[in-house]
């Protein structure tokens, strides 16, 4: 199997929120706008790729019985680094994402990749796996966030798309939790209609 496949599988076959239906908490919570989705996605790519690399590099050193604890320590470290970096350099993003940046620690996509992939594969394959799954995750968040922002606020990446009349009477409930569930449900249905449900 070519290493390239490790990257591309995350973009469709194992697209985390839609195909695996994993890591839904941030997916539902932060996608009030496309920008928020992108910010969260980039944070996840960083954490996922680096934790995959380290877990993979240390996979022969870490004793099996303490592996989960070790993974959590490694993941938490990168999450805190991301948190401090967004706070220092992208403050508006930090404000918008709030508690969901620290909560990346418990995002099951990341621990899932560490346990299911990085602990069994080489460093390069693991890095590509992290990048691919992360990119797929980001893509999903941007699509979901963009859809909700467009319908709910009439903007996309804060650029006004809809007419002023629409924006003043938009479906602001799409920005609330029910809107997130509805959007996610519709997107899931579309994805399942396009291809047979994932067997994994």
């Amino acid at each position: 199997m070519s290493v390239f496949k490790e990257f591309t599988k995350g973009l469709w076959q194992e697209l985390p929120p839609f195909r695996l239906v994993l890591g839904l908490c941030p997916v539902l919570a932060v996608t009030k706008s496309a920008t928020n989705g992108l910010g969260m996605g980039l944070a996840v790519i960083f954490v996922l790729t680096w934790s995959n690399i380290l877990v993979s590099a240390l996979r022969k050193v870490i004793p099996r019985k303490v592996r989960i604890a070790s993974y959590i320590v490694i993941i938490a470290t990168f999450v805190v680094i991301v948190e401090m970096a967004t706070q220092a350099f992208f403050y508006p993003v930090y404000e918008a994402l709030g508690i969901f940046i620290p909560l990346i620690v418990v995002n099951c996509v990341i621990l899932g990749r560490a346990e299911a992939f990085a602990s069994k594969n080489g460093v390069i394959a693991s890095a590509l796996d992290g990048l691919g799954i992360g990119a797929g995750f980001t893509m999903s968040l941007v699509v979901l966030g963009g859809l909700r922002e467009l319908i709910g606020a009439g903007t996309l990446f804060d650029v006004e798309i809809m007419s002023a009349a629409y924006r003043s009477h938009s479906f602001s409930f799409m920005l609330e939790a029910p809107g997130a569930f509805i959007c996610l449900g519709v997107l899931l249905a579309i994805m399942n209609a396009v291809s047979a449900p994932s067997s994994s």
């Binding site: 004793p63 019985k65 303490v66 470290t77 680094i81 401090m84 706070q87 602001s172």
Partner: protein, 190 residues
């Protein structure tokens, strides 16, 4: 036995290296983060509250202690004379704490304005408390105003549909006005 020692050593080493990396990163970003918080969160609001100030409000900030609690005090000056002060306080809203920056003209003890710094109110309904239409109604009120909504027997017009949110803002202002005499005294003693 060998296995246990190996587990302890490996996990300790990983934790140690991670802790070291984090404290290094923290040291490198701490100053910038503090600066960003001031510039992005409080800065713009303070400038709106102390709109007539001619000095660099953010650089001229100071910390004073009131009733054992630290208060970050922003001072607005006209020329060299202190014109107004502003500090943050909070009240309980519908969805959580509402943080409000209140500015006072220390010459005649009136409010130079208020700004909502952060809130967790319902978007589109309670979030109206952060809009100009509501906040500007506090401008020029004296500190002896009864900061309660009219249904509660006060002097403040509530927002229809956002009663709790408006009450939360009033509570924050009451908390702020409560310590104002002490803040002013300390300010003038310096």
């Amino acid at each position: 036995m060998k296995e246990i020692i190996q587990m302890i050593v490996v996990l300790s080493l990983i934790s140690g290296v991670c802790a070291l990396a984090l404290s290094g990163f923290r040291a490198a970003t701490a100053e910038r983060i503090e600066d960003q918080v001031l510039q992005n969160v409080q800065g713009p609001k303070v400038k709106l509250v102390l709109d007539k100030a001619e000095n660099d409000i953010i650089n001229d900030r100071k910390t004073i202690s009131v009733n054992g609690e630290d208060v970050l005090l922003f001072v607005g000056k006209k020329g060299t004379e202190t014109w107004a002060i502003a500090y943050e306080s909070k009240g309980g809203g519908f969805g959580g704490d509402i943080k409000v920056m209140v500015g006072y003209d220390i010459g005649n003890d009136t409010l130079t304005g208020i700004q909502v710094i952060s809130h967790k109110e319902t978007p589109g309904i309670g979030s109206k408390i952060a809009e100009d239409q509501f906040t500007k109604s506090f401008k020029g009120l004296t500190t002896s105003t009864r900061f309660k909504t009219k249904p509660e027997g006060g002097d403040v017009d509530a927002i229809s549909g956002a009663t709790y949110s408006a009450r939360g803002v009033c509570e924050a202002i009451r908390n702020s006005v409560e310590i104002y005499p002490q803040v002013k005294k300390q300010m003038q003693a310096q």
